[in-house]
């Protein structure tokens, strides 16, 4: 079941650096929100508050109707899918074992079966791929496996931290397509961190622009383009547009 995400007045510092400054965010169950902004804007920190990889200094963080601090972090994390930029597959485990990690942690007897199903969902036929080691796959295939691993136990939420950032344009586009289908079929709540506005526009229902630990603007990509709330948002969009036009000319 998809679960909603909610952060209320969350602040966090790393030493003297303010990473999150009184941020509030809601993602409705089954919806997808993209966090965009420059490096150091706090978007990854905010994402990591939801699976307690970051424990904020103040504020309330909820997944569904539960405070995240209410249960063991391991237990919480097993219910939340997670994909990072460099997939983080265990290099000494074959594909199937990697994908079956979370079902195994949850003591599910059908761990291998659900892992095979997840592989099929991300477009990797399990007969062909399940016995390979990660180093025997292409970069795109590795990210697909990482994606399969994150959804194998059918979590209600997935957190994606620049999941396609290290891929070439074609693999990236293919994988975005795969994920978009997957999310809609599985109806999973998604929080995506990306610095690519096009990716945000393609995968997310709502885009949140962050800067210096605060939210600058939130809305659909259409809203952002039509009426940027701040100079910074306008500048961000202008830059993305300029990049696209340079490509076309």
């Amino acid at each position: 079941m998809p679960a909603s995400l909610s952060a209320r007045n969350v602040s966090h510092r790393f030493g003297s650096v303010v990473a999150l400054d009184d941020v509030s965010l809601d993602v409705a169950a089954g919806r997808a929100t993209a966090l965009v902004g420059e490096s150091g804007s706090g978007k990854t920190t905010l994402l990591r508050c939801f699976n307690r990889l970051v424990e904020p200094d103040s504020g309330a963080v909820m997944v569904g109707d539960k405070h995240v601090g209410g249960e063991q972090p391991e237990q919480l994390r097993r219910g939340i899918g997670y994909v990072q930029q460099h997939g983080g597959l265990l290099p000494h485990w074959r594909v199937l074992r990697n994908v079956a990690l979370v079902p195994t942690l949850l003591d599910r007897s059908d761990a291998d079966d659900v892992a095979r199903a997840a592989l099929e969902l991300v477009g990797l036929p399990s007969v062909e791929f399940e016995l390979r080691f990660p180093h025997e796959l292409s970069g795109g295939q590795r990210q697909r496996v990482a994606l399969a691993r994150s959804i194998a136990a059918r979590p209600g939420v997935v957190l994606l931290d620049e999941p396609f950032g290290a891929l070439d344009a074609i693999s990236r586009s293919d994988l975005q397509q795969t994920f978009d289908n997957l999310r809609k079929n599985l109806s999973v709540t998604t929080l995506l961190v990306t610095h690519d506005l096009a990716e945000a526009a393609r995968l997310a229902d709502e885009v949140v622009v962050m800067r210096r630990g605060k939210i600058e603007q939130r809305g659909s990509m259409r809203d952002l383009v039509r009426s940027p709330a701040t100079d910074y948002v306008a500048h961000l969009i202008e830059r993305a547009r300029a990049g696209l036009e340079a490509l076309l000319s």
Binding site: N51, L53, P73, E74, Q75, L76, R77, R78, G79, Y82, Q84, H86, G87, G88, L89, L90, P91, H92, L101, V102, L105, F133, P134, H135, A146, R149, S150, L159
Partner: protein, 562 residues
């Protein structure tokens, strides 16, 4: 048995027994015997007399003569020849780990007592002996038996050609010409105040260069022209062989070096009859005899047992013994020599291997958890591992010497020293391996809900295993090499023939220890390479480990350098 053995150390004692050490030899932590109510009365003690020597030919010979003399009088004898240096041999005597070894009054005066006496006293060997003997009784409860009858002073020697070229007759002449000359001195001599340091102060001796040389090679170095001047002993057999000129100590710098048996207070108290037997040698050996005996030993390469036995027989102290193998093996082929000694070499090899295995296992048990713990406490990791690294820089012989006051001589201090040397590579390998284990994989495993223990067992340890094993392999090869030095403190092993061979300038004997040690290092390394391969995660396996095998060979070579 006077040693109290709590059950907790039963294993250690069992191991020591397996290694072939009498329990007494392992009980060096036993305090020097103090008078106590249950102290056995004189003559009632039935235990072997531990006879030791320092690592040079004459010391071996005298110790062997002590040993055979005692045996002929019905005493059981345990031989501990070749103890590292003065500090180690005397340290062992003070702690009661050995009972007797041959020592020289001048050494006792300068290197142990650190006393300076007026020149008038220094010129009189009897007066020096009286002083040394009295002070040793007072300060160390150790006893000098009456001198054996000869002096073995330092003999600063040059070749005839050098003497003629520079007109050298005395040490004053030598000091004058020393800026043109390269000296080859034993490490002991370079450091001692009755050695180079004092020569520099008294004569102003300042050679162009000073090369530290092992006793076994210095005569060859001099004869080949690699060095111009060396320190020898006046009774050295090789002085005569190479026809060298001994320079006169015209300022009477060197104290008299009268040879005598130095005996522990414990033996004196417990077995006065042993002292009575040893005293039979007092005054019986003159310098000419010693030179001739040393020559048989060092130049003719005769067996030390035979030379000692012959001389005791000549002196009428011991009857002719037929059991001794007196076959002159000097000209036998090397492999025939090795074959003759195969049983001995095999037992040394097994003992060597056991020392290495025990030290290594103990090091793994401590260093792997330490490395894992340090990974969680990064702040103290580098200082801690750095501290272990500093241990590596302590020369093995010095580390062994430090052990003696704590653990005496024998297997226990050797194991502790080897264990200390093995800690660093293993702890470093574990720490680095676990720290650097694929950070993305570790982060992802954490984000997906693994516990810290699961991450350790499933991710970090498997990924770190090859690095940890590489550390263990390095430690193993280092330990095989370092264990050869264990012979200096009487722990046995393949160092025994190496130390004895160095002392007796017998290359074949050195090789009979060094070759098996090298083979052992390769076998140990090869075996661990298989283990390393077995624990290497499937995705990283390679067919060959040639590169690391060559690296291991290099470190063996580096360690075995004398």
């Amino acid at each position: 048995m006077r040693i109290c053995r709590p059950p907790t150390i039963a294993l250690a004692v069992t191991l020591a027994t397996v290694i072939g050490v009498a329990p007494r030899a392992n009980g060096q932590s036993e305090p020097p015997a103090k008078p106590s109510p249950e102290q056995p009365t004189a003559n009632s003690v039935n235990r072997p007399v531990v006879v030791a020597s320092k690592p040079f030919g004459e010391s071996y010979l005298l110790a062997e003569m002590f040993a055979q003399l005692l045996e002929s009088r019905g005493f059981e004898v345990e031989r501990r020849p070749g103890l590292g240096a003065t500090e180690i041999a005397f340290g062992a005597l003070r702690t009661g780990a050995i009972d007797v070894y041959p020592e020289y009054t001048g050494t006792g005066l300068v290197a142990i007592l650190h006393d300076t006496l007026p020149d008038s006293v220094m010129a009189d060997p009897r007066a020096v002996f009286a002083h040394v003997s009295q002070q040793f009784t007072l300060r160390y409860n150790a006893r000098w038996l009456p001198p054996l009858g000869f002096q073995n002073t330092y003999a600063i020697a040059v070749t005839k050609a050098t003497a003629n070229k520079y007109h050298l007759r005395t040490l004053t002449d030598l000091a004058r010409e020393s800026p043109h000359l390269t000296a080859g001195f034993t490490a002991d001599f370079i450091g001692r105040s009755d050695g180079l340091v004092g020569l520099n102060q008294v004569y102003g001796l300042r050679p162009r260069a000073v090369r530290p040389l092992a006793p076994a090679v210095k005569y060859q170095a001099l004869a080949s022209g690699a060095v111009d001047v060396i320190d020898g002993y006046s009774t050295d057999g090789l002085l005569a062989k190479y026809d060298l000129v001994t320079l006169i100590d015209d300022q009477h710098f060197f104290p008299p070096y009268e040879a005598a048996a130095l005996v522990s207070g414990r033996l004196d108290r417990e077995m006065p009859n042993a002292l009575a037997a040893l005293v039979l040698l007092s005054g019986r050996l003159d310098e000419a005899t010693m030179r001739q005996l040393n020559r048989r030993l060092e130049v003719d390469g005769q067996d030390v047992r035979r030379v000692a036995g012959d001389e005791l027989n000549t002196l009428g102290l011991v009857g002719r013994r037929s059991a001794l193998s007196t076959r002159a093996t000097q000209h036998a082929e090397f492999w025939a020599y090795m074959w003759d000694r195969r049983g001995y070499i095999l037992s040394l090899t097994l003992r060597h291997l056991l020392l290495v295995v025990i030290a290594l296992i103990a090091a793994v048990i401590v260093a792997v958890p330490l490395g894992l713990g340090l990974e969680r406490a990064r702040r103290v990791a580098e200082p801690t591992i750095g501290g272990l690294g500093v241990l590596q820089t302590i020369p093995s012989i010095a580390l062994l010497a430090f052990m003696i006051p704590l653990l005496g001589v024998g297997v226990a201090p050797a194991l502790v020293a080897l264990w200390l040397y093995a800690l660093y590579p293993i702890a470093r390998g574990t720490f680095t391996g676990v720290r650097d284990a694929d950070p993305d994989a570790v982060a992802a495993a954490e984000a997906l809900g693994t516990t810290p223990m699961q991450r350790l067992m499933w991710v970090r340890l498997p990924l770190a295993a090859p690095v940890i094993m590489a550390g263990i392999r390095t430690a193993a090869v280092i330990t095989v090499g370092a264990a050869t030095l264990a012979a200096f403190i009487g722990a046995g092993g393949l160092g025994e023939p190496i130390v004895a061979g160095l002392a007796l300038a017998d290359t074949r004997m050195i090789l009979s220890g060094a070759l098996p040690a090298a083979v052992l290092a390769l076998l140990v390394d090869g075996t661990l390479a298989l283990v390393e391969r077995a624990v290497t995660p499937a995705h990283r396996r390679r067919k060959l480990y040639a590169a690391s095998a060559i690296g291991s060979l290099r470190s063996v070579a580096a360690r075995n350098r004398p």
